[in-house]
């Protein structure tokens, strides 16, 4: 039964890889130059796409070349996948949790930035003992980002302002605010003109998991723990029941005596705190000096991650690992085969598009009796 649930995501991923493969092959000048010779053109196309995908694998899972001297080092790419996936798991959880309560949190990007600001500030300003410093930085990150997200929930509960609009706008506000902060004396590294914050102190950094040569760090464990906590919250706690009830039917929940306003505000607070934790993991784990680009696209990718993971904590972890792998592998692919990293965006968008339209995949492959699962849905502007 469980396996059947995987058929649809697997086929969607295969379809996305296939379509992207066509894109890689037929935008290549060497392939295009063979116009008129269909057979050699096809074989060149296959080798071009194959080469790109092989590089994607080498960059995300295992690299035989790196393993030659020291076998364990061959897993360096997998460690990079974990580094990329850790913040993604957390931002993905943020979006997924909001989805379950019927809210669409497009604001993980801004909340991630708020968290990164908090972690960075505590990380370089104070001098605290080991462990305590990291905990303090993480707490600050979660508080800042939680308030940033909770504000959205509060506005929605009090005035009906739609969370999609408010979060889109707050993403920009956070981006510009960070840019401004990095120009102030409090955040600009002494002696620098470019927007770059001081590095967080050693005591606040997250320790590496597999020795100093592999960058995978405690952030991954933190992300897994958070996923476990959200699973417990959603499936085993009274609050989680309320969240899901409001997500399923707000009017009925209200009638049943659940305070929808309180649920909205607290869900957005927790969602913000999760995304902020992602920012903290990024700063304390792999990017100790904050730049204006710290947010990357963690918050935006989080939406595709949550959609691919069907808004469940376990699904989100696997989806984030997949996208983390694409991200890490995409860099190798770009470096060694001159296939632009942006292909990863295309793959991600296509996967989600295919997943979101089970009817399309089903008709393409003539599938019957395949569990499509629940589709994630928010409501219109007035919902």
């Amino acid at each position: 039964m469980k396996l059947k649930k995987l058929i649809l995501p697997a086929l969607s991923f295969a379809m996305a890889l296939f379509v992207s493969g066509l894109l890689v092959a037929f935008s290549d000048s060497k392939v295009l130059a063979l116009k008129g010779q269909p057979i050699s053109m096809l074989s060149k196309a296959l080798s071009t796409a194959g080469g790109a995908y092989w590089a994607l694998f080498r960059g995300s899972i295992f690299d035989p070349q790196l393993a030659e001297g020291h076998f364990f080092q061959g897993f360096y790419p997998f460690s990079e996948t974990l580094v990329a996936a850790s913040p993604l798991i957390l931002t993905g959880l943020s979006v997924a949790l909001a989805f379950r309560a019927g809210l669409f949190n497009i604001g993980a990007q801004g909340q991630f930035i708020a968290g990164a600001i908090g972690a960075s500030w505590v990380g370089f300003t104070f001098d605290l003992p080991i462990v305590i410093h990291a905990v303090a930085a993480i707490a600050a990150a979660m508080l800042f980002a939680g308030l940033y997200g909770g504000f959205v929930g509060f506005l929605k509960a009090r005035t009906g302002a739609h969370e999609v609009i408010v979060t889109i706008m707050l993403n920009y506000v956070a981006g510009y605010f960070l840019l401004w902060l990095l120009s102030t004396t409090a955040f600009l590294r002494p002696g620098r003109q470019d927007p770059l914050a001081p590095e967080v102190h050693q005591n606040a950094r997250l320790p590496h998991l597999f020795g100093p040569n592999l960058r995978a760090n405690l952030g991954f464990i933190i992300a897994l723990l958070a996923a476990g906590a959200i699973w417990w919250l959603l499936n085993r706690s009274t609050w989680g029941f309320r969240f899901r009830a409001v997500g399923a039917n707000a009017a009925a929940s209200r009638t049943a005596g659940i305070s929808v306003a309180r649920v909205t505000t607290s869900v957005m607070f927790i969602a913000g705190a999760l995304a902020g934790l992602g920012g903290a993991v990024q700063i304390l784990g792999s990017e100790p000096a904050m730049t204006a680009g710290v947010g990357g696209s963690f918050g935006f990718d989080a939406i595709t991650v949550a959609l691919l993971g069907r808004a469940t904590p376990i699904g989100t972890v696997f989806a984030a690992l997949l996208f983390g792998a694409l991200r890490a592998g995409g860099l190798t692919m770009q470096a060694s085969t001159e296939t632009p990293l942006d292909l990863v965006l295309v793959i991600q968008a296509l996967v989600v598009l295919f997943i979101a339209a089970p009817a399309l995949i089903k008709s393409l492959f003539r599938l019957k009796n395949v569990d499509a699962g629940e589709t994630v849905a928010s409501k219109g502007w007035n919902g």
Binding site: F104, I106, I165, V166, I347, Q348, A349, N382
Partner: protein, 425 residues
């Protein structure tokens, strides 16, 4: 007003009251911060271009302190006017407009103390920056008035920019580029329509994913083809401005509105046609009815999903045309993610303008003005960090949707998929 009377206020009246209180707060803020606090005034030079020739400029020099004081007092008078109109149960739109303009002038006097403000150029630049916003907001109006949320404006703009730039370059014909742009936007909105209307997928999710898809595709092709083969793939060039005889000679207004490229004139046409068609034609009535109450529309024989499908396609065409402005109207070649979130600001303008074409145009002009003013003040130097100026449209939108400025309501069935004969699901 007694407490009982306040309680008796209807919801829109309460919002209007909140709006007046907000304006009163902002007006007093302007009076104190811009007008009273600065110790001494400095001259602000405004220059106005009178004809189409830039040489014919007239300069007006204002003392910053007295200018700021004057305009903040006018702003406060406008608040009083709004309060009187409110008592008389009339709309406060005119007073709000006067308030907005004078608040802005007061700010400008304060921020530009001792500086030179090329006023005509400022407005001209504002219009320039508003063009893609207006096209995008019109695409939003067309789609959302019929009940389909269009978050994919960004993607439609970007697709239009990419295709128009590439085709104009490949054919060395800018007209060909301009003609393909609507079809590029339409391709994206076709996906939006198929998935949203046929498969009933959540429209916000869908629009978001389509944006990612277009960003990914254009970035990929840009690096793969447009950078290495720039001379063939990415050298489309720009349209030259066309001066309209007589109209372009009107002082101040002429050079701003009537010495523009063909894309801007197409924008004027699009706005006027959409405004009139939406409120005066059969098509408009049907569009609004399927957006507000699809079940009722169907009961009188209107094919809801057909109207929605068609409208989403037209919306894509309009946004795609707006995308051409980035390449053929402004820069002359395509660059990576050149729409830079303008699609989202267009969405904000749509909401700020309460889903009405003219309201959205006004909002887009304000956002374009803020953007351009920010650019100008960054060069001349201001008391406010430019990042905060850049935040302004976004903060304004949050305030607007929170109901502090007035009631903002989307079409009732916006974003809700419709199944024949069975109401919404």
């Amino acid at each position: 007003m007694s407490i009982a009377e306040i309680r008796a206020l209807s919801a829109p009246e309460r919002r209007r009251k909140r709006g007046i209180i907000t304006m009163a707060g902002l007006g007093s803020f302007a009076l104190v911060i811009f007008g009273l606090l600065p110790k001494s005034g400095q001259p602000v030079t405004y220059s106005f271009v009178l004809g189409s020739e830039w040489v014919l400029a007239k300069e007006i020099i204002v003392n910053s302190k007295s200018g700021a004081l004057l305009f903040s007092v006018i702003a406060l008078l406008a608040v009083a006017m709004a309060a009187l109109q409110f008592r008389g149960r009339k709309t406060i739109r005119l007073a709000s407009g006067i308030f907005g303009a004078s608040f802005l002038m007061s700010f400008l006097c304060w921020a530009a103390a001792g500086k030179f403000i090329p006023f005509t150029g400022l407005l001209q630049g504002a219009l320039f920056l508003s063009v893609p916003l207006i096209f995008g907001a019109m695409a939003g109006v067309l789609s959302e008035r019929s009940g389909v949320i269009n978050i994919a404006i960004e993607g439609q703009l970007l697709a239009g920019a990419f295709m128009s730039g590439v085709l104009a370059s490949l054919t060395q014909n800018k007209i060909a580029g301009l003609l393909i742009a609507p079809f590029a936007g339409m391709a994206i909105s076709w996906l939006l329509a198929i998935f949203a209307i046929k498969y009933g997928i959540d429209q916000v999710v869908l629009g978001f994913v389509l944006n990612v898809l277009v960003i990914g595709l254009t970035n990929f092709l840009y690096k793969r083809l447009l950078i290495p083969y720039q001379s063939t793939w990415n050298s489309g060039g720009t349209f030259a401005p066309i001066e309209i005889p007589l109209l372009s000679k009107i002082p101040v207004i002429g050079p701003i509105f009537f010495a523009q490229s063909i894309i801007v004139y197409l924008m004027y046409v699009a706005v006027i046609v959409i405004h009139i068609a939406l409120f005066k034609s059969k098509w408009g009535l049907r569009t609004r009815s399927v957006g507000e109450h699809p079940t009722a529309a169907e009961s009188v024989g209107i094919d809801v999903n057909k109207i929605r499908f068609r409208n989403v396609l037209i919306a894509g065409a309009v946004a795609g045309l707006g995308g051409a402005f980035f390449t053929l109207g402004a820069v002359g070649s395509f660059s990576k993610e050149m729409t830079a979130g303008k699609g989202f600001i267009a969405l904000a303008a749509l909401i700020f303008g309460r889903w009405s074409p003219l309201g959205a145009v006004a909002a887009a002009l304000i956002f374009g003005f803020a953007d351009n003013l920010q650019g100008l003040l960054t060069i001349t130097g201001t008391p406010i960090p430019s990042e905060f100026m850049l935040m302004a449209p976004y903060v304004a939108t949050i305030i607007a949707v929170s109901g502090f400025v007035g009631k903002v309501r989307a079409p009732a069935a916006d974003g809700v998929a419709y199944k024949r004969g069975g109401g919404s699901h």
